[in-house]
Subunit: 218 residues, 2 copies
């Protein structure tokens, strides 16, 4: 079975979107929001919004929509953002170090404790609070510090071996930026990130906009 | 109007997924694929697959499914991947330089011509074929080289100003990694990337897996 299937991607993306909208709404001082408003801000249908939220419980306030604070807390809890997630980054190259410094990770409770790399020249470098350690220490470190999330930013050839070490250390989830499919056992959650997909969304939009500008159909 | 709405995200993500599946299928030497098979490989319903593909044209071969090569070329063309996209990266920090080196960008036709940064210490550094140039040269460079895509990897405070320069130079699309919303005119396509959303998908999956393991409901 493909590991891609394990997380329903579009639902989670919508939940992340709801969370960001709710935070903005709360910052504007509003206390309730209708499904129509939430749909409008997120570019979705209100039927989709109601379906998503009813699946996770009943947050509606009769005739007035949803309570913003209660819904925000509920979505946060559903997404697992009501706790701290100890994490490590494997691969201290450009992408690994950029991810370590990514401000929204810490803000959402993902705490990167250390980076790991095979290159001795990188050992001892610090990115914020996190130090680069030898890859040989990954498994013992992850076990000792009860790391729950491993972020893999290695070259493709190393990704599965690194994943195996993380799994051996009892990790619960892997975010894989390496351009290689990795296999994980059923109890480990996996997300494969391909940044090229973001660029494809952009080229798709540009081509569509060009066709509309030229009077093409749809 | 929120700029997030401009591209139907989930459809494009499915198209990117179909493209990757079709390439794997072709690499295995198969020449046709049914909507059920495509759905199964992608973790989708076959109704969804048929709906997506019928929207873009008729690729079915009666009783045998879809022709793999024809469908791959069609999806590639829909996504705008049948051409070269001249691009620039603004912000030559860790993320900007990591994005420049990202192997799948070049593979999909996104050619990064140069990076731009305000820091004189970075000017003249090379990442692959791309050199870091002063930010003051961005607008004239982008116009002269007919750059169509700008990738923004600056701090939040600089993002809108950089976007304005790109738009002034006639760019068609912006991929924004800066943690700030930017505004673009209607003829410019925009995608906002938040890597924290990927981690949220993972924490969601871990929490769900934990609840299932503990015998919780759904």
């Amino acid at each position: 079975m493909s590991s891609l299937r394990k997380v329903s991607d579009s639902t989670v993306r919508r939940l992340s979107l709801y969370l960001r909208i709710l935070r903005q709404i709360r910052a504007r001082g509003e206390t309730t929001i209708s499904s129509e408003q939430l749909a409008d801000e997120g570019g979705l249908t209100s039927a989709q919004v109601r379906k998503d939220l009813s699946f996770f419980g009943n947050f509606g306030v009769r005739g007035r929509g949803y309570d913003v604070v209660a819904l925000e807390q509920a979505v946060q809890s559903i997404l697992g953002l009501d706790r701290v997630w100890p994490a490590v980054v494997v691969g201290a190259g450009r992408l690994g170090s950029a991810l370590t410094a990514y401000p929204d990770f810490a803000r959402q409770g993902f705490r990167i404790l250390a980076l790991f790399d095979t290159d001795p020249a990188k050992h001892g470098r610090r990115f914020g609070d996190a130090e680069v350690l030898p890859l040989s220490e990954l498994e013992s470190f992850a076990r000792r510090e009860r790391v729950s999330i491993g972020i893999v930013a290695t070259p493709a050839a190393a990704a599965q071996d690194v994943a195996n070490q993380l799994i051996g250390a009892g990790i619960l989830g892997i975010l894989n930026f390496a351009p290689a499919r990795i296999e994980v056992p059923p109890h480990v959650s996996l997300r494969q990130v391909n940044l090229a997909v973001e660029l494809e969304g952009l080229s798709f939009a540009i081509v569509g906009a060009g066709q509309r500008a030229n009077g093409g159909t749809r």
